[in-house]
């Protein structure tokens, strides 16, 4: 058999894709999770060096981060306000988009991480970033657009390497 009929495994390309899947997956999952985060301020006694309450009886405000479904926010309010003024982004489009954005990032990120329909998952992730790019172009967030362009380029590279996909739940 010739080499063209039985290609030898390209371990470099396989590892490159694994790295890209890991990075893109973690990036999407953590970004999605952060949309469920919030912070609360607690009042606790100020402690002295020995760990006992300060003699002044002082209380300090300590900020604590937490995650909950109630804390879900697709994008910052300031950005939402800007999008609401864009005629090309009507509410009937943005409302469902905001509702699924966080869940979509987590789901696609997990799919890419574990290799579940890797090609389709990468492609959908790329489309999600393109959709975000559309909004950022409208509100002239050029820095964000460039940032997303890097993500999309990495996805494109990953897609071009899918024939070397290993350690995946599904083959395609």
């Amino acid at each position: 058999m010739s080499d063209s009929q039985n290609p030898t495994p390209d371990s470099g390309s396989m590892l490159a894709l694994l790295l890209l899947r890991a990075w893109l997956g973690v990036r999407a999952v953590v970004t999605g999770l952060e949309k469920f985060s919030d912070s609360r301020t607690l009042q606790v006694p100020l402690l002295d060096a020995a760990g006992k309450p300060d003699s002044s009886g002082a209380m300090v405000e300590v900020t604590q981060k937490f995650y909950s479904l109630h804390s879900y926010h697709a994008i910052p309010d300031s950005m939402k306000e800007k999008f609401s003024q864009e005629p090309l982004l009507p509410a009937f489009m943005t409302t469902p988009y905001y509702a699924v954005l966080g869940w979509a990032l987590i789901a696609l990120g997990l799919a890419v991480l574990v290799g579940l329909w890797t090609r389709a998952s990468l492609f959908l992730m790329g489309l999600l970033y393109v959709s975000l790019t559309f909004g950022l172009i409208l509100i002239k967030q050029d820095g964000g657009v460039s940032w997303l362009a890097i993500h999309v380029a990495l996805i494109a590279v990953a897609l071009s390497l899918t024939k070397h996909n290993r350690f995946a739940l599904t083959r395609s």
Binding site: L46, S56, A58, V60, T63
Partner: protein
Amino acid sequence: MSSREPEAKTDGLGRRRFLKTATAAGLSIALAPLHSAYAQADAGDSINIALVGLGAQGRVLMDAMLKIPGVRFVAICDIWPYARTYGQRYLKKNGFEVRAYESHKEMLEKEKGLQAVVVACPDFWHAPITNDCLRAGHHVYCEKMMSNTIEGARSMVQTMRETGKLLQIGHQRRSNPRYLVARNRLLGEARLLGRITAANAQWNRAVSADLGWPNHTAMTKELLEKYGYSDMHQFRNWRWFKKCGGGPLSDLGAHQIDILNWFLDVSPSTVIASGGRDYYSGHEWLDNAMVIYEYKLPEGTARAFYQVQTTTSAGGGYYEQFMGTEGTLRMSENPKYTQINREAAAPPWDQWISRHLLAAQKAPAKSDDDSSSGNDKVDARETAELAAYYLPVILSKLIHQPHLENFFNAVRGRGTLNCPADEAFKSEMAVFKAIEAVETRSLVTCKSSDFIA
């Protein structure tokens, strides 16, 4: 009611001082000198009190005391019938039927169940009323300034010593946990600022009209003169008249000059100042003043600039700021004016942040068109902008409440005063020295003995 000066005695009967020292990481700090005279608690937690003076400050204290469990109002005293009526009605709404008096002497004669008196009348009545109350066997919380004269202030300290009763002066920042933590922990334990070389403080207020009064409430000339006032205008605006008060350096400056002395833990060695009646025509006291104190600290000299302006609110609020080789602490009763900055070359503050003594401020979000990112210096010799932190300590009470609580706890025998009269006298003497420097237009040298009553 006639003013009289008490006899001068200088013995310190039954008084001791503590200088508490806290140690951490091998460093010692001096805590506030605390008054050691424990009061005799007469009857459990309930304390019968009278409030003398129901003007603006008296009402602020009344609101704070209404939030303190165990404080039982039994009497009020004010020469103005309008204020007495207000006080009786307000306290009745809050569950206290109080007897009202025009004269504090009559009140002291008739109210036999009193344990403490809170004095918030005009400054020139502080000494005679406080001295009478102490001699009648009552503990006293008296607003600052102690008096509009050095002799009056000194007499209060002496009466406190003679009677063995408690006399707390209303420098309320001394019981504010934010100030206590800043002084004792940040400056003392952490030595966050390095060597303090300078300080500045200010309280600037916009131009305001003199206080008026409803026509039908005006007191007769005879009644006003009986209590030392020329007319209703002087009664309502006593702070601006030399025989009644001490002007802005006394009204506003006393609080902040007290903080300079307390935080630096020493009295000033010299004072220069300038001020005058620049704007208001109907006042006797200066309306604007700028003062420079020199302090001899153990590690070297530090200078403090204080300004009070009553003709402009410019200058960014009211605060007391301490500047050192490793950082700057700006304190204010209003948390929004409080800030801590770290010099770039200072040792890391991580351990103090992890112990919640301070917290990093969130950096303001940069706008897209912010072209200053990178370098906004216009001169290479400029010091870069310092990292900013805030004091996470909160005070969720009215600002006078902790100081009053400290007083009532001391009356119950459960603590010591945070600002006994002899300690307050030191700071108030620094105010008198500033007024002297303004009036003589000369360098005023202070001896350590000047600050001892």
